[in-house]
Amino acid sequence: MQIAEWIESEILNGHFHSDQKVYSQYQLAEMYTINPATAAKGLNLLVEENILYKKRGLGMFVTGEAREIILNKRKNQTLKHLVQELVLEARRLQISNDDLFAMLREKMAEEGGK
């Protein structure tokens, strides 16, 4: 769900703080030329995940733990997935575990140095 992901990224990037109101389904619908119902589904998804909460008649707001939840989710899902892909690809290329670790360490050191 692209809308949900986009709002998550906005929260991670610090554009929305906790207890701040996020876009309404109609604003989102206009911004992306999508059906408001689709936008609402994206928002509701985030409510289910406790990233947003509803204030009746006022709109959707960012929860206090939103950042943490998003980070965890991305770690658990996105990173896990990437790692799985990495391992699968390494298998196909017949790279040994040690070599893979070495590559990872090297890359991390490089990034860390910056």
Binding site: M1, Y26, A29, E30, Y32, T33, I34, N35, P36, A37, T38, K41, Q84, L88
Partner: protein
């Protein structure tokens, strides 16, 4: 509230059955996409809804009335397509005046603004417009009339890319401000799927699917991997699409009703699981032969 209720609608033209027992209903204030290939029966269905033609059997209710010869349905609905015809004696500006007299919810300001935006000449004539311009003008009438039931049948015929985008955006913005029931028919699902809340997929006069767009996106799944693994994984399922990629790799589309467990197992096997784009799914569902166009060229 249900705006449209169709119970076993059948339509015959001479001996040909164009619609086959269609039963569905459309809720108030939703944008529904009526998707089907050319000749699927979209226009016939919409014209029955608009009260232009009569069903051979079954019962159609629009606003709880039979639309054929209902003034109530006529004043609360508008049917827009590129065949809309207007008296050749009236200029475009006059046609807007007429539409304003007929439709109680008509927004003249919106109409005039759109009219100017798309640089129409008020002294021009409808039958001298190009195909794209005709569609654009009809679209303006369709939007500004603000009918509780607005039907667009292939509204973008002949429009160029930019105008199409403008139209979709105008439609959406006006819908947000004035929610109403909109049916948008098209044979290009990918172009309009973002606008839609629901999709009604018809093929050969029958309903294939009727569901929210978001569900449609998850309705099927593409499986790609080593041929035997893929075949093993998808056995005893109806294959919607099958395509050999390279020597030993197969791509198969099946309905997505796998358990979480099964999906994880597939992943472990090294099968690539991908969502299927709705427009592709539409093509797969409406292609008569499972192999697609490639089969035509596979003579051996």
């Amino acid at each position: 509230m249900k705006v449209i209720e169709s119970k076993g609608i059948t339509k015959n033209y001479f001996r040909k059955q164009v619609l086959k027992e269609l039963t569905f209903s459309i809720e108030e204030n939703k944008i529904t996409g009526l998707i089907g290939r050319n000749g699927a029966g979209k226009t016939t269905l919409l014209k029955i809804i608009a009260g232009f033609i009569r069903e051979t059997s079954g019962k159609m209710n629009v606003f709880s009335e039979t639309p054929f010869n209902s003034l109530n349905v006529s004043v609360n609905s508008i049917f827009v397509d590129d065949q809309m015809s207007f008296p050749p004696a009236l200029q475009l500006g006059e046609l807007l005046n007429e539409a304003a007299r007929f439709y109680p919810n008509w927004d003249d300001q919106l109409a005039r603004k759109l009219f100017n935006y798309f640089s129409f000449d008020a002294k021009g004539y409808h039958n001298r417009l190009s195909k794209g311009k005709t569609s654009t003008f009809n679209m303006i009438i369709g939007l500004a009339s603000r009918c509780p039931l607005t039907i667009f049948d292939e509204p973008t015929t002949g429009m160029d890319e930019a105008v199409r985008k403008d139209f979709y955006r105008a439609l959406l913005k006006d819908y947000i401000d004035y929610p109403r029931t909109i049916i948008l028919s098209s044979h290009h699902l990918d172009e309009i799927e973002d606008l839609l809340e629901d999709v009604l997929l018809i093929h050969n006069g029958m309903i294939l699917l009727h569901m929210p767009v978001s569900d449609l996106k998850e309705w099927a799944i593409g499986v790609k991997g080593a041929s035997e693994d893929v075949l093993d994984f998808t056995k005893e399922r109806e294959v919607l699409y099958k395509n050999s990629v390279g020597m030993n790799t197969l791509y198969v589309v099946v309905k997505n009703d796998f358990s979480e467990e099964a999906l994880n197992k597939a992943h472990q096997l090294g099968l690539e699981l991908t969502p299927v784009r709705s427009s592709d799914l539409f093509v797969y569902l409406t292609t008569e032969t499972k192999g697609g166009i490639d089969d035509v060229f596979n003579n051996n």
